[in-house]
């Protein structure tokens, strides 16, 4: 059921991911903090899972707040 549905946004750190989650929430975009998938990052941190349909709006929301995005990947 998860197929073709989600994307993840990788941020620099958990602090950044938590701030991003809050900014997305304020912009009406639902997200969930999940462990960063191993094939995308060897980091021990978290990333934000969002609906693929929300990717562009999410990107814009974070960039408007001058938040650097490490990467956006479909999963």
């Amino acid at each position: 059921m998860y197929r073709d549905r989600y994307a993840v946004i990788l941020m620099h750190s958990t602090s950044h991911a938590i701030r991003a989650e809050k900014l997305l929430y304020q912009a009406g975009i639902e997200s969930k903090l999940i462990p960063a998938p191993r094939h995308l990052s060897s980091d021990c941190g978290v990333c934000l899972r969002i609906e693929r349909a929300d990717v562009e709006q999410a990107r814009k929301t974070l960039e408007d707040s001058r938040m650097e995005i490490e990467g956006v990947h479909e999963i």
Partner: protein, 384 residues
Amino acid sequence: MIYFDNAATSWPKPPAVLEAMAHFLNETGANPGRAAHRRAIASGRIVYEAREAVATLFNAPDPLRVVFGPNVTEALNLALAGYLRAGDHVITSSMEHNSVMRPLRALEQAGVKLTVVPCSPAGFLDPAGVEAAIRPNTIMVALNHASNVTGSILPVAEVGRICRQRDLLLLVDAAQPGGAYPVDVQADRIDLLAFTGHKALCGPMGTGGLIVGDRVDVARLRPLKRGGTGSNSELEEQPDFLPDMCESGTPNAVGLAGLAAGVQWVLEQGVAAIRAHEVELTRRLIGGLQSIPGVTVYGGLDPERQTATVSFNVAGKAPSEVGLRLDDEYGIMCRVGLHCAPAAHKTIGTFPDGTVRFGLSTFNTLDEVDAAVQAVAKLAQEVN
């Protein structure tokens, strides 16, 4: 019992602070930023809320440029030792606490050039003195926002304007005024703001930090320590972004839970209301002490120009004796001596004996002030 040692550490704390800390230990507990399970994320959120609360209080635009550490001393060391290099010139005032003066004296030994601008005997700084001290290699002004000895408020906004005109960084030690007097990093043009959690921010000991403005060259800032951050774990080198680069090791998350609640409480009361009450207390205290024969009060003697910290001496009695008797006979807790600020005492003429210091907080009352003034009057009567 009367607690007048708030300039060292505030007490009591708002009940919400204790509740937040108990809640963290009972219900959250996990390490923030180190895992992705629900409690680790809950813990990370609490630490982030603390960043946001501090950023709101000091009007800092980016909560992720609030770097947490154990206290204001470490924050000042980070800003000074982390940023200054041999050959750089830095300007400071003669009212500094040793948390600024000692790192600067050590850096001086390592080739940093230092000018200490003298303040008036009442503990005030003329911004023109700072401007006159600027040299071609000056890169920073490090300034105490309010003296921990006399409460005297230094002209941070005026110096901030000079720093912008002359392209210098302004580092401010906000240990004393933070939470009790308006401090606005944007309006005051503060580039580096060092704060502590355990005074008027109403948090617990073991919390503090540095707000890093966007004029600061982060690539030049050397962390005081390096280690695990939960980020960039594939690298054996330290991350190069804030706040992680300066926050190695497990943070004091339970303390930060308390700090977030403390700052939230301050925001709910309003700094203006807290300030108004403390001005009223300070006016009564200064007036009362001044009316006692044999008592000398230091500073500007104007509650509008100082925090709620008042230093005084009783003629014929050592500060240590006054402090002991106030505690033993009247249950009044205060601090006596040099208050870790020898330069400030040389400035106001109380070195090396020091002063008796009453540090008031928003939780003190006019009745407590009156009782303390009566107690000092009785001690002064013995010799005067």
